[in-house]
């Protein structure tokens, strides 16, 4: 799953060339209501026009700071929230155009692993009923077949069959996340959105969960969207990486290209800000310290969303939204000056 040398005719880390999920110009604006009649006085532009594909069998990393809209993208892709504009296509089916029973029939094929394993598991349900619920809901298995499937799933995620009748509070954070993963793979999905799946876990447990996700991907042929603010972990797990800022994608490239040769000034600053656990490397690294904070998505700056903090910004940046261009093979960037 790693990129081969640059000599390859098409530098592509994709195991398959067909997109499983296509997102086109997706927008999600949350209305701000105000005034006496609670009229809409503005909008939080959580996601403001993003376009990308996720190919069969790959892991696309989606990174960004808080408020960049990464979780909202995940939720809209699975139609847990309606899109304001734009389309999401899954395996040729336009999800944004269907609803009700039609949508429900596709749901088993796309699942989600949530950030907080404490909040995403019902404390009153046993592990067996948590993992068995999707099987029941979508009539995938019942009776002894369901029981067998639950045991099989427990084993797949590294838990024991004996855990089936326990409750979530009896498990550690890492084990709970395993339960959440078992629930997500119960219906043999093609696509899983992992929304900060390790952010709430201790460091020594994070690698356990990431290794499990990679192992399941290899065994079950899964396609992942891995949403995270942890750039080091994304480098480890993702084939391609998209960098989000204020609801827009700033840069999208194969992992190696993005980390070794970032083109967008924001990506450069972001990468330089991540500490490396090695004092020798830290002593020689050059850090780009960005001034100020991320602007509010309710009042994004005109032009390039990053222009208020960008060390390279010129007059043009606050006047004109940069085009989304392919700078090198599969290396996309939204910046007037990137080259």
């Amino acid at each position: 799953m790693t990129t081969e040398g640059a000599a390859a005719p098409i530098a592509s880390p994709r195991p398959y060339e067909e997109p499983l999920v296509s997102v086109r110009d997706l927008k999600k604006h949350f209305p701000i209501l105000g005034g006496f009649f609670r009229r809409q006085v503005g909008a939080v532009k959580a996601v403001d026009g993003v376009t990308f594909d996720i190919f069969y069998g790959e892991t696309l990393g989606l990174v960004g700071e808080s408020g960049s809209g990464k979780s909202t993208i995940g939720r809209v892709m699975l139609q847990l929230d309606d899109a304001t504009e734009g389309t999401v296509t899954f395996d040729g089916i336009e999800l944004t155009a269907i609803k009700g029973e039609q949508l429900r029939r596709i749901r088993p094929r796309m699942q989600m692993v949530f950030q907080d394993p404490h909040a995403s598991l019902n404390p009153r349900m046993t592990v067996a009923s948590i993992i068995g619920e999707p099987l029941k809901e979508h009539r995938a298995a019942k009776g002894s077949a369901r029981k067998e499937r639950i045991e099989e799933l427990l084993e797949l995620v590294g838990l024991e069959p004996g855990h089936a009748n326990r409750y979530p509070h009896e498990f550690s954070g890492g084990q709970r996340q395993r339960i959440g993963i078992a629930r997500a793979i119960a219906l043999n999905p093609d696509f899983i959105i992992c929304d900060e799946p390790i952010a709430a876990l201790d460091v020594s447990i994070q690698s356990q969960i990431v290794n499990l996700l990679q192992q399941l991907q290899a065994e079950l042929g899964l396609t992942y969207l891995f949403i995270s603010h942890d750039l080091s972990m994304v480098r480890h797990i993702a084939d391609r990486v998209a960098v989000l800022y204020l609801g827009k994608i700033m840069e999208l490239a194969p992992g190696e290209d993005l980390y070794e040769d970032p083109k967008h000034p924001y990506t450069r600053a972001l990468l330089s800000a991540v500490p490396v656990p090695d004092p020798k490397v830290e002593a020689t690294r050059e850090r780009i310290i960005l001034e100020g904070d991320i602007p509010s998505p309710a009042h994004p700056p005109p032009g390039c969303p990053f222009n208020t903090r960008c060390p390279m910004a010129e007059a043009r940046c606050s006047a004109e939204v940069p085009a989304w261009r392919e700078l090198a093979s599969s290396h996309w960037v939204a910046c007037h000056f990137a080259e």
Partner: protein, 333 residues
Amino acid sequence: MMSSQPVLRVSDLTTQFDTQDGVVHAVNSVSFDLRPGEFLGVVGESGSGKSVTMMSLLRLIPMPPGEIVTGEAEYDGVDLLQIDIDELREIRGGKIGFIFQDPMTSLNPVLTVGYQIEESLRIHQDLPAEQRKARALELLDLVGIPSPEQRLKSYPHELSGGMRQRVMIAVALACSPKVLIADEPTTALDVTIQAQIIELVKDLRETLNTAVIWITHDLGVVAGVADRVVVMYGGQIVEEATVDHLYEAPQHPYTMGLLGSLPRLDQKGMDLVSIPGSPPSLLKPPQACTFAPRCPYAFERCHSENPPLTAIDETRKLACWWDVENERPRYDD
């Protein structure tokens, strides 16, 4: 920069909490020194006792249910754990500053930023109001807050997370403390803001020559700034070394596991070594090595005897029965 006389000396500190489930042995016989102007990183996962250790020093843990069972914390010739509370209050915030993880809950939401910075000056220093205000202004400027005059009148909710943490640092530095204890000060912040805060503390330490204890779960954060690092696990210090030695040649299997389980931004392709199992329950006093159940090197002695923290050379202390380098039990005679 560093003299041999420590500014803070903690020895044999043991803190317990009496809970419904039993006695939690949160900190077990922890000892360490802090030299003047030194930057000490304290690394550990949740429940390792790193925060409780520092809170215990200043008697900031709720008592009861908390209890400091044994220990000394010597600062400037006095034992912080013995002196009376009025004397301790002089030191807290005056000589020893504290920054907490979440700036939203540690700043008072109904008081202005200026009031909160001036508060510690009011308590610890006998300054006229005008000078206090001038000092508050100077502090806001020092921690890099733009247009400080206006910000003095702001309330915490009007500031972003990074700005609030800067205010917290200004409050902690108001009386020019000799020691600054920072408990996960950047954990709640985004990485670009974290970089700003780390840079700020680095600069401040150089200009003010304050000794810093930086508590974190992230081995990356302290790699670039610490002089020495202490690794905690299960309420105990398991390894202590200069920053270069610790990262280059960790000697404790837990430190090794922790470093191995971290993906690195500047490298790709290695498999992540994961530490099996989960952190220990602290409901029993440690009678054996707390890491033994997860340790790939554990042998009989590890399960029956708790290894003490022992100096193995001039720059390193270790609590482990196994000699990783020579692949044999340590102290085996």
